[in-house]
């Protein structure tokens, strides 16, 4: 077998593309664009946003995401000239703690946070989530119409996230709205900045809760953070607020996007909808397959810390790198018939929660909340029909591939008499 030497050394001119993950064109054609990049230029240079490498194939994405030394997550907020600008392209105006940290500091934070996100913690929250799903469905079931995003997919994760954070539950709408706005608008645009501003105000409100929680006993993550130490020191009020905001950003809208995409798809595949209704044991594998084919978080970034050859392309220290999870999840080298959704696909090593040490900390909650919400809809409105002309996709899927709203109709049923959990 002959080997093209340029593949080893990264010599020659790299494939150049104009890739913008925030455009309507990408939103409407992300599957085709991903497949083209996979087959023609799995590692390509894009001139947009100051220039970055777009990495599409599974092997390269998993190399980048696992090699934290060569591909840093660090975000230097003090110096915009520092190429290390974190995990979003263009950079997020707020530091994402601890996602934008590297080892060894990252591991200290992660170990502190993990117990709040373990499978045991997720299981413990399930009765709360079931009650919330039943209560939100009770509000709409007798009318025969609901909005899958606004009446279920947004409120349930928002309420559950506030519960795990230990925040007052009556405020959930104040938190959910700007979280939704941030992910459904182009980063850096006016709507995005308005929502970011609202979040910073919410951060102020969160910060005001912290001093009392330093000594007072209370449930939830916020109280735990107020008492925790990192390398022998207590976390500052500011850090606690940043962590809490990141948890909410992760908890609200990502699971929403998975649910709305799934319900949309099940309308096109009534036989698969019936299969899921008839066979609850299918839910485990089906959840992973929905995660793979919809990839709610389509891409995240790193910065190269040294010169490195990846996929035959020579990257330089300081180059920005965007990992397309959406494309890697369609790589035919790893997934047979990648365009096809197979609800019993196994194995299914998708990248939708990331890989390596930065793996989505909320994945145990995400699976659990998604399954409880989907089960609720399939139990109580199994014959739903989405009004496709009125449903709206996010303006941009650069951060989250989801829907702004999704109205639907169904055969009305009697409420079960369940109140929202207090």
């Amino acid at each position: 077998m002959s080997v093209d030497p340029s593949v080893e050394t990264g010599a020659g001119t790299p494939p150049s593309i104009e890739f913008d993950h925030y455009t309507p064109e990408y939103r409407d054609n992300w599957r085709e664009i991903s497949d083209t990049n996979l087959s023609k230029c799995p590692v390509a240079h894009s001139s947009t946003y100051g220039g970055f490498w777009l990495v599409s194939d599974y092997a390269s994405v998993s190399r980048v995401i696992r090699d934290d030394a060569t591909f840093t997550s660090t975000h230097n907020m003090e110096d915009p000239e520092d190429p290390r600008q974190g995990i979003v392209i263009p950079p997020n105006p707020m530091l994402q703690v601890p996602m934008e940290f590297d080892p060894p500091l990252y591991n200290v934070y992660r170990r502190m946070l993990n117990p709040y996100f373990s499978p045991t913690a997720a299981r413990a929250l399930e009765p709360f989530v079931r009650q919330a799903v039943d209560a939100f469905l009770d509000k709409v079931c007798a009318t025969g119409r609901m909005d899958f995003v606004l009446d279920l997919g947004n409120p349930v994760p928002a309420l559950a996230t506030m519960k795990l954070a230990g925040l007052p539950l009556d405020d959930w709408q104040t938190f959910a709205e700007p979280m939704h706005g941030i992910v459904s608008n182009p980063a850096g645009g006016p709507e995005y900045l308005r929502c970011m501003n609202a979040l910073q105000q919410l951060g102020g409100a969160l910060g005001a809760l912290v001093p009392r929680l330093r000594d007072e006993e209370a449930d939830g993550l916020l109280s735990g953070l107020a008492k925790a130490t990192v390398n022998g020191e207590r976390l500052s009020d500011g850090e606690i607020v940043l962590i809490a905001l990141l948890v909410m950003q992760g908890g609200v809208d990502t699971t929403t996007a998975l649910l709305s995409n799934t319900l949309w798809w099940l309308q096109d595949h009534p036989e698969q909808r019936q299969r899921l209704i008839d066979d609850p044991s299918l839910m485990e594998h089906a959840t992973e397959e929905f995660l793979r084919i919809f990839t709610p978080v389509p891409a995240l970034a790193r910065t190269a810390t040294e010169d490195v050859v990846l996929g035959g392309q020579r990257m330089r220290a300081g180059d920005r790198v965007l990992m397309s999870f959406a494309a890697a999840n369609r790589d035919p080298e790893v997934f047979d018939d990648p365009a096809e959704a197979k609800l019993d696909r196994f194995p299914n090593p998708h990248t939708s929660f990331g890989l390596g040490i930065h793996r989505c900390i909320g994945s145990n909650y995400a699976r659990s909340w998604f399954q409880i919400m989907l089960r609720g809809v399939l139990d109580r409105m199994p014959d739903y029909t989405i009004d496709r002309s009125a449903a709206r996709r996010n303006d941009s899927i650069g951060i989250i591939n989801g829907f702004v709203n999704m109205p639907a109709t169904f055969t009305p049923s009697e409420p079960r008499g369940v109140e929202l959990p207090a």
């Binding site: 170990r111 993990n114 117990p115 996100f117 373990s118 499978p119 045991t120 485990e284 992973e288 196994f346 194995p347 299914n348 090593p349 998708h350 990248t351 929660f353 890989l355 390596g356 040490i357 793996r359 994945s363 145990n364």
Partner: protein, 63 residues
């Protein structure tokens, strides 16, 4: 059969324990623990499926 989870590679996806809870135990943070743990014959298939499910390829099965 014995099963070992590489603690450096395990990233807490919990796919092994979801498929084969009788083989894969988790620590309090949600990461799998197994150090040359013996797997009885009737659980070998479950152990293999759990290993295959791991997106980090962190699970080794040895005779």
């Amino acid at each position: 059969m014995r099963v070992t989870v590489d603690r450096e590679r395990c990233s807490g996806h919990v796919r092994c324990a979801a498929l084969a809870p009788e083989v894969y135990q988790l620590d309090e943070e949600g990461y799998a623990i197994a150090d040359a743990q013996f797997v009885p014959a009737e659980r070998q298939r479950a152990a293999e499926r759990g290993a295959l499910a791991c997106p980090e390829q962190a699970i080794a099965l040895t005779p």
